[in-house]
């Protein structure tokens, strides 16, 4: 079965979703990612969804779950690269991914993770919807 590659960069894990995800692949990513967090002690997870033409409720729920489980394992998640049309559609669908930090692109996402790592433990993780990082919903 296909797997989505997970790269380690310092204390962060990087995931770039480049395929139209079917449901089993999304479920596998959830498992693989949490295992890698536990194995590596990563403190931050960046998920790049810029290749995704849509995010439906299944994928949205997967992102929410990954963020919640990662947090319990001591890692904060930022989702980057959401296309403007996807953001518009998600809000209309009623799925605002309130439990997930977002940033416009990989660069800003990595900067955010860098700040979390500098802070040691992020107080920021208590307020995922607050702060200046939720700038991925343009359009």
């Amino acid at each position: 079965m296909d797997r989505i590659p997970i790269l380690k960069l310092g204390d962060a894990l990087l995931v770039t979703i480049q395929v139209d995800m079917h449901d089993r692949l999304a479920a596998a990513l959830e498992e693989d990612l949490t295992e890698r967090i536990a194995a590596t002690g990563a403190k931050g997870v960046l998920i790049d969804i810029s290749s995704l033409g849509i995010v439906d409720s299944f994928i949205g729920r997967m992102l929410d779950t990954v963020a919640a489980v990662s947090r319990m394992l001591g890692a904060d998640t930022v989702v980057v690269g959401m296309r403007p049309a996807v953001a518009i559609t998600l809000v209309e669908l009623g799925l605002e991914l309130k439990g997930v930090r977002t940033a416009l692109n990989v660069e800003r996402g990595m900067a955010l993770i860098g700040r979390w790592l500098e802070d040691g433990d992020g107080d920021e993780r208590d307020g995922p919807a607050a702060g200046d990082a939720n700038d991925g919903d343009g359009g």
């Binding site: 033409g53 439906d56 299944f58 669908l93 009623g94």
Partner: protein, 139 residues
């Protein structure tokens, strides 16, 4: 852009029996939406709605079909989708349309969300008879 070939493009009927089929439905709907001249936001909305409804057909209906039609009304062009299953049906459609109502362990955004993402929405269902949902998105 090719024009005048609506009749030739006609109708496609796709089976929905696995999560891979849900991906295929998304791809077919995307290419129809592009061919109909829908903008990127409208494309994203109809493909997302199709993904939600295809998953409903799979999970709640026990599988079924979708008919994908390229439609035109005068100079207006669009895409119409008819999802059909012979599953248990929906006893209370109004309740099923409410956000947060779910029997399948999902987020319960599928039906109501798809309705919001479409220009036309029609549902016909009764216990024991199965469910038919028709949506359309126009340019």
């Amino acid at each position: 852009m090719a024009t005048g070939d609506d009749a030739a493009r006609g109708t496609a009927v796709l089976a929905i029996g696995s999560s891979d089929d849900v991906v295929r439905v998304r791809q077919e709907v995307r290419s129809r939406a592009v061919a109909a001249g829908l903008g990127i936001v409208d494309q994203t909305k109809i493909v997302t709605a199709a993904s939600e409804l295809a998953r409903n057909t799979l999970i709640h209906g026990g599988g079924g079909t979708v008919r994908v039609e390229s439609v035109s009304q005068g100079v207006r062009r669009g895409v119409r989708l008819t999802f059909e299953d012979h599953g248990p049906g929906i006893p209370d459609i109004n309740q099923a349309l409410k956000d947060g109502f779910t029997t399948g362990g999902g987020l319960g955004l599928g039906l109501g969300g798809s309705k919001r993402l479409s220009n036309e929405f029609e549902i016909d269902s009764a216990p024991g008879r199965g469910t038919r949902v028709t949506i359309a998105r126009w340019k």
